[in-house]
Amino acid sequence: MAAEESYPEDLKYHPEHDWARIDGDVATFGITWFAQNSLGEVVFFEPPEVGAAVSKDEVYAEVESVKAVSDVYAPLSGEVVEVNDGAGDNPEVLNEDPYGDGWLAKVKLSDASEVDDLMDSAMYKDSL
């Protein structure tokens, strides 16, 4: 079942509808409730490779609904240290739990100051 609309206050948000949960020098990435709702039921997600470099504002993965492909943008730069293979096997978790089991990748940040460019929950909500 689809999740209820929410934008947790402990996350940082990117205008392309991605979130980051910062934990020291590692951030967890995912797509927001708004993104998964716009996309509809997610039927395909292929995680990036562990070790891959990702750059803030650039595409690092794709998610697909039945009808459409959508690019996923990195909210921050760094190196992928862990990916959510569970979301690759059961992509519907992106709809069911976009901020929990539907996380996409963990990234070791190369420039922690980039976090300052991201929005907080209230700003992101206002942007929708």
């Binding site: 689809a2 509809g40 039921e41 039927v43 395909f44 292929e46 794709e62 697909e64 609904s65 039945v66 009808k67 492909v69």
Partner: protein, 359 residues
């Protein structure tokens, strides 16, 4: 967006929670609960689709049958009164202008259902070629709303609402449904049992509400597309175009060249000599979802075709599609790759349908 047309059911779609999108000049519901759930409901129960954007052209008069025989690819003389027949409309060079169902309403009266995106062009083509035939060609798009009721439970559900017997497959019946006279046709675009109902526009809401009360689920254009792909029905603009003839599209069965329809000569030639490419259904048994315009790649790494329709199949749980491929690669079982945005995905040509509702 402001000049989009709305069907009589627009408010009903909003009330049912539809996501509405522009489609062929109309504002249409693409989904309600979600494409996957709606798709599976049609495969297991009963779904109702608003397809009032489809066009209707009525051809009547002593020369009506002769005009249709001249422009439609199938043998129109074989349609009995109360019968239905599929055909393609072709240019002189055999390129496909549209694919359509024609219903014979009387000895000299026919109703042809057009694709919304082609309706105006079809109508102009009918009129242009009507000169010399003793018949009238009328645009009837404003006179009919159209609901498709499809799924294994569709007929049982409709029996409670209809005044008479439902038509068999490829037959029509004029009967009351939910209190008003409708033209009920034993046709559809899902591969399931069911009917398509043409009704007066002012009756559409009553009919829609009666169907929902009987337990039918509203289904959007998203699931309509995945349902038709699983059973390998063509979509004009994807799998059919003016640049393709019906032989390479796998529609030779509805072309009767002996009737001398417009386009019959190049089509007879294509049938005799074979075509360089053929439309073939395929699955991606491993990973990936094919999409329109993805290149097809052969075992040597050379491009050997192009995907015209592709999606994730809710019934099969994998990527499926149709592609025009080099004729020697169109045999079921052939292994190919689809270039999905730079990633080569293993694909296998299958026989049609990809999913058989009767199985």
């Amino acid at each position: 967006m402001s000049d989009l047309r709305r069907t009589p059911l627009f408010d009903a779609h909003v009330a049912a929670g539809a996501r509405l999108v522009p489609f062929a000049g109309w504002e249409m519901p693409v989904q309600y609960a979600g494409v996957g759930a709606e798709h599976l409901e049609v495969r297991s129960g009963c779904g109702v689709f608003d397809v009032s954007h489809m066009g209707e052209v009525q051809t009547s008069g002593l020369g009506a049958g002769d005009l249709l025989q001249r422009i439609l690819s199938n043998d129109v003389s074989k349609i009995e009164i109360g019968g239905a027949q599929y055909s393609v409309l072709c240019r002189e060079d055999g390129g496909v202008l549209d694919d359509l169902f024609t219903y014979r309403l009387g000895e000299d009266r026919f109703l042809t259902v057009t694709n919304a995106s082609n309706h105006e062009r079809d109508l102009a083509w009918f009129r242009e070629h009507a000169a010399g035939f003793d018949c009238q060609v009328e645009d009837r798009v404003a006179d009919w709303a159209m609901l498709a009721v499809q799924g294994p439970k569709a007929r049982g559900m409709l029996e409670g609402l209809a005044s008479g017997d439902l038509p068999k497959r490829f037959r029509t019946a004029t009967i009351d449904v939910a209190g008003a006279e409708c033209l009920v046709c034993g046709t559809g675009y899902t591969g399931e049992a069911g009917v398509e109902i043409l009704c007066p526009p002012e009756h559409a809401v009553t009919l829609w509400d009666a169907l929902l009360e009987s337990g039918a689920t509203p289904i959007g254009l998203g699931a309509r597309d995945t349902l038709r792909m699983e059973v390998c029905f063509h979509l004009y603009g994807n799998d059919l175009s003016e640049d393709r003839n019906p032989i390479e599209a796998g529609l030779g069965w509805c072309c009767k060249e002996e009737t001398s329809f417009i386009g019959s000569e190049p089509i007879a030639e294509a049938r005799a000599s074979g075509t360089p490419e053929k439309l073939a259904p395929f699955v991606l048994p491993e990973r990936g979802i094919p999409r329109q315009d993805n290149p097809v790649v052969d075992a040597e790494g050379e491009q050997a075709g192009v995907v015209t329709s592709g999606t994730h199949s809710p019934s099969l749980g994998c990527g499926i599609g149709m592609a025009y491929v080099r004729a020697d690669l169109a045999e079921p079982g052939t292994a190919l790759e689809i270039d999905v945005r730079g990633k080569h995905r293993a694909a296998r040509i299958e026989s049609r349908p990809l999913y058989d509702p009767a199985r």
